[in-house]
Symmetry: C2
Subunit: 346 residues, 2 copies
């Protein structure tokens, strides 16, 4: 199949640090090539891929993130070449979705963000402009606010398992929070659990934007001490080391997170995840077998909850990720989605 894959242009593929969408698209493009498909990846010129790379910019214009003029150059280049492909799969967001309405080639768009509130309403409106576009979700929960949109497939994210070592033994010295400094992600809830249980906590999180910094200064920084440590934003090697040594990853989210890569990263290492029942958590974790799900984050303070997590078998957790979140599974899901898109566009 000749596939055109459009990635957001703001970071190189794969990204050096932050950039979950770019990491997933990198795996997808390489995986499609490995399956024998002819893949063109539209991304910034500093990307690394086994697909044919097509770029408007030599370097990702990160300083212009979110600006129409830069995004349009990238997308228009891709859309003008749509007729070279059997199917085009866009990952860029609302502008890419709108451009689907200008393309004759079968076009499917992967929704990476949440559909609550204003973005959801805008998705709905843009679909009316581009009625032939098919949508791919990354979890079934993500669809809930907008079930009536033209969903063609559900393709959960995946990990390159070769870069996540597996630890055979459970246990560890500290609890871990990994993510971004935002109230949604809940570093302050992890902190409350650590204070209550008097267990050590390490917090590794992106903290660059003004809102992230303000949240950190107000809710996290005042509580740091010898036992509760902020280690900054971490690269892959440090992240894996943190995951390997943790007793459990706390994932106390308070929003409808469409997926949650950090949970499967921990699980790939065999590290148990204790998560609140929000977003895609119940689609990723099977309570009592591959992780622990609680209804209220305060339940994480209960010693019984932590003991349940300690009792999980790391081998079972790792195996779950190998079976359900491997690149091969994701690539197969996408190939089926592309075939369905071609079929439905007729």
């Amino acid at each position: 199949m000749r596939v055109g894959v459009i990635c957001p242009v703001w970071f190189p593929v794969p990204p050096e640090a932050y950039g979950g969408i770019e990491r997933v698209v990198a795996l997808l493009a390489d995986g499609l090539v490995a399956e024998g498909h002819e893949v063109t990846l539209f991304a910034s010129g500093d990307s690394q891929t086994r697909a044919r790379l097509e770029s408007v910019f030599d370097n990702a214009p990160s300083e212009w993130i979110g600006h129409t003029f830069w995004e349009m150059q990238h997308l228009v280049n891709a859309v003008l070449r749509a007729q070279e492909f059997d199917v085009v799969n866009d990952h860029t967001g609302l502008l890419g979705l709108a451009f689907g309405g200008l393309v004759d080639t079968p076009f499917c768009h992967t929704v990476h963000g949440p559909l609550e509130g204003r973005p959801g309403r805008l998705y709905e409106e843009v679909v009316r402009l581009a009625p032939d576009t098919k949508l791919i979700s990354i979890s079934l929960n993500q669809r809930k606010p907008k079930l009536h949109l033209p969903w063609i497939a559900n393709c959960p994210n995946a990990l390159d398992l070769s870069v996540y070592p597996f630890r055979r033994k459970s246990g560890g010295d500290y609890l871990l929070f990994l993510g971004r400094m935002s109230p949604d992600k809940g570093a302050h809830r992890a902190l409350a659990v650590a204070l209550e249980t008097e267990l050590p906590l390490k917090i590794a999180a992106k903290c660059r934007e003004p809102l992230e910094i303000r949240y950190f200064d107000e809710f996290i920084r005042p509580h740091l001490n010898d036992s509760i440590e902020y280690v900054g934003e971490v690269g892959h090697a440090d992240k894996v080391e943190l995951l390997m040594g943790a007793r459990a990853l706390l994932h106390p989210i308070d929003w409808e997170e469409p997926f949650g890569l950090v949970a499967i990263e921990a699980m790939a290492c065999g590290t148990p995840v204790i998560a609140t029942r929000r977003g895609a958590v119940p689609e990723i974790i099977e309570h009592g077998r591959t992780g622990i799900i609680v209804d209220q984050y305060r339940e994480m303070e209960d010693p019984a909850t932590l003991e349940q997590a300690d009792a999980l078998d790391p081998a079972v957790i790792r195996q779950e990720i190998e079976e359900r979140f491997s690149p091969q599974r994701m690539v197969a899901d996408y190939v089926a989605a592309y075939e369905a898109t071609i079929e439905a566009t007729g």
Copy 2:
């Protein structure tokens, strides 16, 4: 005629200070209503218009200027209602132009920016995505880099003449530069002229963005003295006062400026303009009758040039603006453009 007019959403219509496009669109919408047309203006909710105002945002999201997510909400709202109109006239830029391809209603797009370089190439590509869209220029010179685009009309900008008083006598104590702190606009060239001729100069310019401030600090600030004065960014009343008292407006541009509102603002007051032969200058000024055009800005230092400017008849200059740059003329041009768009879309 039922007309949908789409304005950029970043500033209210009309704008409080800076915002040339918004000022022109305000005049156009009110003028169309005055001619009996049924006009809907898509703009931020803090706008003032005689047209029916349709808004997604109560206040102009100025802090998000240029960001796709905000621009799209505004544009999608307009595009989804396109079928309510006989014609849609977009003033927003490249994203609005692209959305023209998603609309069945006759659609024309006014190009407000220059078409050299990267923006011109992107215009060309987007027109390929939206082949039924018709383009309106604001000067014939603006078209030059892309003569083959689907131009339907040339509609030069206009002024609300009632807010520009006319001074009957020529002369004045100082030279004036009015605009934005950028090398293109050439405050530093006006400054060089003032230094060479030892004539007083007042510089009134927007200076907010980092690049503007850096240019000011490097090229303007070191030369300020009792005779060469920077008066900041000015509102309408101060601008008119500066224009009324000036011996001449220096307009030493060094770029293909698509129009040049500041020139017609000066001329509306009867103040002579001395301009370099770039951009739309020869379409606005008739050399020796309604202003002075020089090939090199250094010619502005020649006492003979200034004497030529002194000799111009303010009444002739004002009359030229009344005849060629009145709202009535602009509205008539636009109505003809809309009729041609409807005819051509068939």
